[in-house]
């Protein structure tokens, strides 16, 4: 049962399994385990980022394509739903129209960019996507009549998802069953489904071809696989799933804006998570996202204390300033590209493999 659900791609390390279980249970029970809006927000963000990062891993880790346009697709999803709900009022049909529209736009864009530049070298694709994504972000913040400009748009979600809505009176386990909770579980289960779907994809024959292309595209082509077609397909797939992640994020935040959805910082976050978590392992997205988002939200508290303790020393205090947490992650990123390119998950798996290979 579990094997089918995970598409035969088990974690293959006891520690990794335990970590994954902790993350899964933590996310599944988050509304009941932790109280307060902030922790629930952290949990929802982790869910969305797991999907977003895993879809990026499909490109980077499995196919060996470096794209910098992933936030663009994420933003298209968020803006699609946001603008539809803003324009048509809070209804489920608006959500559907927005999602469908966003998916269509993403698909077309991914196809065009892919066919235009995927036939050439990886570097070329990376540069083109960087340029296109930057132009898209500028467009979104400048066409303020449509998108609300830098301020973005806040909107109302369908009634079922509104915080004021109560499904039943009273509380379960000390938690009111309100719209926020329903939204959280909508996000959680969608994320889970999308995650399992991606696990299925990378372990299908299609996924194997992608990995073959990553390892040696010339050879894959020689074996009769049209690499351009496969690359473009992977690109479209990654884009579509990123779009859905954007939809989930917009529904959760009830807000879309260029800073949270399209900025280059989101892209660097994704990159950091994929590499630190483990490229080419979908599980890396789970571990990486959980770690990263938790650090983003709670590491700063630690750093604030360190910074306060070092207040007398001029440069060191700055080094541990809470806003500089990205510096440390950047260093970790560079080190992990060199020393453990398969990331945390790869390290754990290698450790488990070494243990099982050792004669008893």
């Amino acid at each position: 049962m579990i094997k089918t659900l995970l598409s035969g791609d088990l974690p293959r390390s006891r520690l990794l399994s335990a970590l994954l279980l902790v993350v899964l249970c933590g996310l599944a029970l988050a509304p009941f385990l932790f109280h307060g809006a902030r922790s629930l927000n952290v949990a929802a963000t982790i869910c969305v980022f797991v999907v977003l990062v895993a879809s990026y891993d499909l490109l980077l880790g499995y196919t060996g394509i470096v794209s910098f346009a992933h936030t663009m697709f994420y933003g298209i999803g968020a803006y699609g739903v946001g603008l539809a709900l803003h324009g048509m009022g809070p209804s489920w049909s608006a959500v559907l129209v927005g999602t469908a529209g966003a998916l269509a736009v993403s698909l077309v864009l991914a196809l065009v960019i892919g066919l235009f530049s995927l036939r050439v070298r990886a570097i070329f694709y990376a540069m083109i996507t960087l340029a296109v994504a930057a132009a898209f972000a500028v467009l979104a913040s400048q066409l303020s009549d449509l998108t609300g400009g830098e301020d973005g748009r806040t909107f109302k979600v369908p009634e079922l998802l509104q915080p004021g809505f109560h499904l039943i009176d009273g509380e379960i386990l000390g938690r009111a069953i309100d719209g926020k909770l329903i939204t959280y579980y909508l996000v959680f289960f969608s994320a889970l489904a999308l995650f399992l779907f991606m696990l299925r994809i990378v372990n299908s024959p299609f996924g194997r071809v992608l990995q073959a292309i990553r390892e040696n595209d010339f050879r894959a082509e020689a074996l009769g696989y049209r690499t351009v077609v496969y690359r473009t397909l992977a690109n479209c797939l990654g884009a579509l799933i990123a779009t859905l992640a954007g939809v989930l994020m917009a529904l959760w935040l009830r807000y879309v804006g260029p800073k949270t959805m399209l900025s280059f910082e989101v892209m660097t976050d994704i990159l950091l998570i994929v590499v630190i978590g483990g490229m080419g392992t979908v599980y890396g997205a789970v571990i990486g996202s959980a770690l990263f988002i938790l650090m983003q939200n709670y590491l700063q508290v630690l750093m604030k204390e360190a910074s306060a303790a070092l207040a007398g020393v001029p440069l060191l205090a700055n080094l541990f300033h809470p806003d500089r947490w990205l510096l440390w992650l950047g260093v970790l990123f560079v080190l992990s590209v060199y020393f453990f390119p398969a990331g945390i998950v790869g390290k754990l798996r290698a450790g488990a493999k070494a243990k099982s290979d050792r004669p008893a």
């Binding site: 470096v66 990376a126 340029a131 467009l139 066409l143 950091l272 700055n318 510096l327 950047g330 560079v334």
Partner: protein, 340 residues
């Protein structure tokens, strides 16, 4: 085929390379085409000079990147970091020597800016050496890792700038005598833009002469064509790599100082923002080609300026439109480098 074998014994000199003139014509043709659209001649002159100035600054930043790519097949996504570092290093000179900046004397102004540029180029050059050594050397030939690692280097560098110079943006004052504009007829030509054009042209001409008239330049050009062959002939291509990387980084630093003075405010993101433009320029020019990079920079900047005047909404995506147009015409860029 036969004509070649017949011709060979007759003239033993190296056959003359046919210069591809078409891209060279693009810039003047574009400028002239825009004249009737813009309408008034003075406005057109102002716009053109502004475009050329911006193009020169972008060229300074882009030329190093394209040369590094051409020679070592490394695309440095962290190139923007050198731009930022260059601009911020300049503040080390420009802020303490405020009295020289504010003085109403050309010589004092020039020397203080010159000193700032010198320091910035020195620092970015050394930083380039370290960057090549620590970040890039282990990943030669691995494109995927190169992109990731240089991106990571960029993140770290940007954060380090925050650590050293603080997170607030720094206002940068343009020296007194560089302010204002020359009025010729009805056209206003900002002095600083003219200076930028001058510096840019100097860089281009110097680079052109070094590449085409010196032994080092010959080796670099040969390295771009076929690195292994250069090595086989007994030249240490590694030293060439390091030298070009340092020079490219120093040029980015120079561009950063010029760009920072042009913007008059500094944020650590300055390099990241310009990186996109730089990439578009080197794609248009043909990856690895310095001449193409020059024309690409001029085209991008001119189009951006004209579009900003004629149709501001189009200006937001004019760079991308230009790139797509050029690539539809020449998929490898204006001057494709042979082996790529």
């Amino acid at each position: 085929m036969t004509t070649i074998s017949q011709a060979a014994p007759q003239d033993s000199a190296i056959p003359k390379v046919r210069v591809d003139m078409l891209p060279l014509l693009l810039v003047p043709v574009l400028a002239l085409l825009m004249l009737p659209l813009v309408g008034s001649f003075p406005t057109w002159v102002t716009l053109t000079v502004a475009g050329l100035a911006m193009g020169m600054m972008v060229f300074m930043m882009a030329s190093g990147l394209t040369l590094i790519f051409g020679l070592m097949d490394v695309l440095n996504f962290g190139h923007g970091a050198f731009v930022s570092v260059g601009a911020f290093t300049a503040t080390l000179v420009l802020l303490p020597m405020k009295s020289w900046v504010e003085a109403d004397s050309v010589w004092m102004n020039l020397s203080v800016v010159g000193l700032a540029i010198l320091l910035a180029m020195l620092v970015t050059g050394i930083l380039g050496w370290a960057f090549e050594r620590i970040i890039i050397r282990p990943v030669y030939g691995l494109h995927l890792k190169q992109i990731l690692i240089t991106m990571g280097g960029m993140i770290v560098a940007e954060q380090l700038i925050h650590v050293i110079w603080g997170a607030e943006q720094i206002p940068l004052q343009l020296p007194t005598t560089f302010r204002g504009a020359f009025i010729i007829g009805d056209a206003a030509l900002e002095k600083y833009r003219l200076i930028a054009v001058g510096v840019g042209l100097t860089v281009f001409v110097t680079m052109f002469l070094v590449l085409n008239r010196t032994k080092v330049g010959l080796l670099i050009r040969a390295g771009v064509e076929n690195g292994e062959m250069v090595e086989a002939l007994g030249y240490r291509i590694r030293r060439l790599f390091v030298g070009v990387f340092m020079a490219g980084s120093a040029l980015a630093g120079l561009g950063g100082v010029m760009w920072g003075l042009y913007k008059e405010t500094l944020t650590a993101a300055i390099g990241g923002e310009i990186t996109v433009l730089v990439f578009i320029v080197i794609i248009i020019g043909g990856l690895g080609s310095v001449g193409g990079c020059f024309i690409g920079a001029m085209l991008v900047a001119l189009v951006a300026n004209y579009a900003g005047f004629l149709a501001p909404k189009v200006a937001l995506v004019s760079d991308i439109l230009l790139m797509v147009t050029v690539l539809l015409w020449r998929p490898q860029g204006l001057y494709p480098v042979a082996k790529r």
